[in-house]
Amino acid sequence: MTDSHAATQHGPELLHHFADEEQQRNSASLGMWLFLGTEIMFFGGMFLAYLVYRLNYFESFAASSRSIAVPLGAINTAVLLCSSLTVVLAVRAAQMGKRKLLIWMLILTLIFGLAFLAIKGVEWHEKYEEHHIPGNFMGRAFDVSDIQRDFPKLHVDPQHAQIFFSLYFALTGIHALHMIVGVGIFLWLIYKAWKGDFGPKYYTPVEIGGLYWHFVDVVWIYLFPLLYLIDRKPL
């Protein structure tokens, strides 16, 4: 989704078709919340697939989920939560007209975002090493013999494990795509903040960008337990 839906009004002056300032800001916020509603349904489709297959093939899902490192996932969640904090502080700084603080907070958010993507890259590479990418991605045929070896008590069916990893890559992949779009939005916000476009009278883009970023964080808040912590009980 290009960032144009973050109502790109230039400068504080009122767009010609809005009656007043208040109407313009409320419309932008309502527009973004409606868009987030569609995103809930977008991820909802994949959550339905995840729910159905987890109920049918629980043990293969549990074993495959155990092969993903929890520490990396937890750190990634913490990184995203930090980025949410810096976004909120950025919006507050914009409201109070503190331009330098705003720019710093936006840059910090960007850094956390990129950190998240980097950690995600490491995780994916680890999956690539372990031959856990479905199909034969770049010549590495999907193979879960290592999982079967690590968890003899759980019945791991290669096909059902491949469905888990298909869902894992679909969910985290599309979530990462939304992160990349978010990084794009924040790069553009930093540029406009540096130009001094935002102030107490006009900070809608920062607020709208913040709503989008928080949403992507909330999606990850659910993805973390559903993908990483299916069943970590001692066997």
Partner: protein, 96 residues
């Protein structure tokens, strides 16, 4: 949006509890709670999500009724999709 929404200190508190909840949910997963593992994980995730939505996304203090209606109806639609689909998947093995 009201002027200076609540002070920065509140945000730090919310952030702190979110981080704590993250490590709690990661830790609890290693305990054997029988069927409650999933329920606990989902409740913690929902609490974290509510914290972010209500405080970080300013739904609690500043936004108006319509935004809340949009959020609740989107989640309700998701539950319609999940619930009615489960009606099929869960009762397919009964009978022929």
């Amino acid at each position: 949006m009201s002027e200076h929404s609540s002070s920065a200190k509140l945000y730090w508190i919310i952030w702190g509890s979110l981080i704590v909840l993250t490590f709690v949910t990661a830790g609890v997963a290693y305990l054997d709670l029988g069927p409650f593992n999933t329920i606990v994980a989902l409740t913690i995730a929902t609490c974290k999500a509510l914290l972010v939505i209500l405080f970080f996304m300013h739904v609690k203090d500043a936004s108006e009724r319509l935004t809340k209606v949009v959020i609740i109806s989107s989640i309700f639609w998701l539950l319609i999709m999940l619930g009615l689909s489960l009606a099929d998947f869960s009762t397919r093995t009964i009978g022929s």
